[in-house]
Symmetry: C2
Subunit: 361 residues, 2 copies
DNA sequence: CTGAAAGCGCTAACAC
DNA sequence: GTGTTAGCGCTTTCAG
């Protein structure tokens, strides 16, 4: 179909073209199209509008942005868009962005420091109106130092070291709530499968684990804590290793649902029954939790709202309104079969425990 | 921290600033930074570089794009980023894009005609270098008419009516392969749960279903075909309805994995055993397929490669190279427990059937 | 070797 | 009411 270098077979119509066609200046075109209602006579207005329509003219965002100083784009940094935890965050953000005429640029960082940094630089170059960090930060934020933060708007979702508005939940309380539930189910020895030590979210959830133990006067046993990486594989291996080393436990507290599902697989393969031999609880309540069998009990967070709230925070900032340094959302425990022991006392099937704290927005 | 309208507390350093600081013109700054090695004396070069570093100068992509005529951005349109089918496509695309210095703008269309159209318009406005349609089109593409296609680069992933390079697999053959497998497992009555009738991918897969029947000389029975919507819910309801209406079937061919999982839930609840009473096969082989129990047999597609290939096609086009109108990728059947009947003949557990066609790229 | 000037497409003072 | 002018920040002829 094309022979030439295939670049621009044709030119995009410009305001100038519209101006020529309607016999006015580009200024007038701009004014008409932007509704700068400086009492432009209906006749002129109409002429311009017609010309624009005939030419299928659409203003170049590039030029507008350069001129006006904002781009109506925001960057979203996620470790991996394939991780279900980020789906509703991304949807919530994109939906809200779309509603406000903003465009979302997506970046997968794999939590690699260098890539994270490079993404921020790209967004700076692109003049993105804001960057949203999803997924929680790491304890060492050296890679994020010396970036032109004073020239950018940032919002974080989850715990982060960067001093910017943060959308999150009380992760400590969330895990503590799950622990309460396990104790209610008469569990005694709770194996904890964490994420990577350097992740801030991991520290938070670990605090929740310990707090849960404390409030039930159960001593902390380091042997019961195994590091994972928020993957199915890691959960599987953690349980495998725990069983191999002869550990005794009657519950698993996993810091995310993939880990929990991996744990369930390993338990099942080893002939242990869930929940009667071992109860399992995860975090995040991704859709997967309701699709495995037995259904996985999990602490549920309003991820969609996180995304939405992040966008709203960006808008507030852009409008010069003040943004709360921390917006904490409620969470609740979604109880399913993986933790509902017949032996235990309060065992209403389908029962759902909900507890909220610091509701906002 | 800020009192003023909070807009730009500070200015981004510009090439002009660098020029002033190093006592040269912006032209020279541009030349040095872009390596236009017009034998610029090392001394000058160094001065500019130092000034740029000190000012933390980074060229504005906006201005560069306006000037050069390309933006190094591409738009990705997916029905819903929460659908696992799109994750690896998105990752593959973003990974390849990142490697080439491109940025991906993400849009969720929910397959809503108006939104799809609006996304394209936004991308046109933004001067995106290309737009990638993922997920297959619909039979009525009226909403996509009269868009300035001659000024855009487009790549589709999956069957599409738009006359642009397409990355895909032979969906007919893929489903036919799954059907062969079911017949091998000695299934006789195969319930088919489809997607929406208007989706092109649905027509393709339906052809595969019929082709599968034909090659085994089994008459087509419309009663065995139930429309779904590629959701768990739809799969569940389809089986529910089928059983309620007294249909007899010993296998389910679902056109995607969510549907298949929903079907499995309904079957299990009704006391039917999988695969011995009813074998189940899905399409897409999303991670979920391996996490449910029994494991779901599914036709596997290289989604990551789709995304990657889409990006490569964009690059080829941008470089003036020719792009194949259709790039077909291979597929294979990932056999798991949901379809492996003890009763059947060839029943090696873990066995994996692979068949490829039209490998390319 | 380097700078002045033009211009990408648009908006916004500032005239007339 | 509407056009002229001056840029937004950059690249790129074209002179010197």
């Amino acid at each position: 179909m094309s022979d030439e270098p295939a670049r621009a077979r044709q030119q995009k119509p410009t305001a100038k073209a519209v101006a020529e066609r309607s016999g006015v200046s580009v200024t007038t075109v701009s004014r008409v199209l932007n509704g700068r209602a400086e009492v432009i006579p209906e006749e002129t207005r109409e002429r311009v509008l017609v010309a624009a329509r005939e030419l299928r003219y659409r203003p170049s965002s590039l030029a507008v942005s350069l001129r006006r100083g904002y781009t109506k784009t925001i960057g979203l940094l996620v470790p991996d868009i394939a991780d279900a935890y980020f789906h509703q965050i991304a949807r919530g953000l994109e939906d809200a962005a779309w509603a406000e005429g903003y465009t979302v640029m997506l970046f997968n960082t794999d939590r690699i420091a260098e890539k994270e940094r490079a993404c921020v630089e790209v967004l700076y170059d692109q003049n993105a109106d804001a960057v949203v960090f999803a997924g929680g930060g790491v304890d060492d934020d050296a890679h994020l130092r010396d970036l032109p933060w004073d020239l950018m708007h940032v919002v974080t979702v989850g715990p982060h070291k960067l001093p910017f508005p943060s959308i999150r939940v009380d992760d400590v309380g969330a895990v503590a709530l799950a622990m309460d539930h396990l104790f209610e189910q008469e569990c005694q020895h709770i194996l904890c499968i964490t994420g990577r030590e350097s992740w801030l979210i991991n520290s938070e959830r670990t605090k929740g684990y310990r707090q849960g133990l404390e409030s039930h006067s159960v001593p902390y046993d380091p042997a019961l804590v195994i590091n994972g990486s928020f993957t199915v594989q890691a959960g599987y291996e953690a349980v495998d290793r725990a069983l191999d080393s002869g550990l005794t436990f009657d519950a698993v507290m996993a810091f995310n649902d993939y880990t929990a599902v991996g744990a369930m697989q390993a338990l099942t393969e080893r002939g242990l029954r869930i929940p009667d031999d071992v109860a399992v609880v995860g975090c995040d309540d991704i859709p997967l939790a309701s699709l495995v069998s037995p259904g996985l009990t999990s602490v549920s967070f309003p991820q969609y709202d996180f995304g939405r709230a992040a966008m709203l925070a960006v808008l507030d900032h852009a409008a010069g309104r003040s943004v709360a340094p921390v917006t904490e959302f409620p969470y609740h425990l979604k109880v399913r079969e993986s933790s509902l022991r017949r032996a235990a006392g309060a065992c209403r099937s389908g029962h759902e425990h909900t507890e909220s704290r610091n509701k906002e927005e």
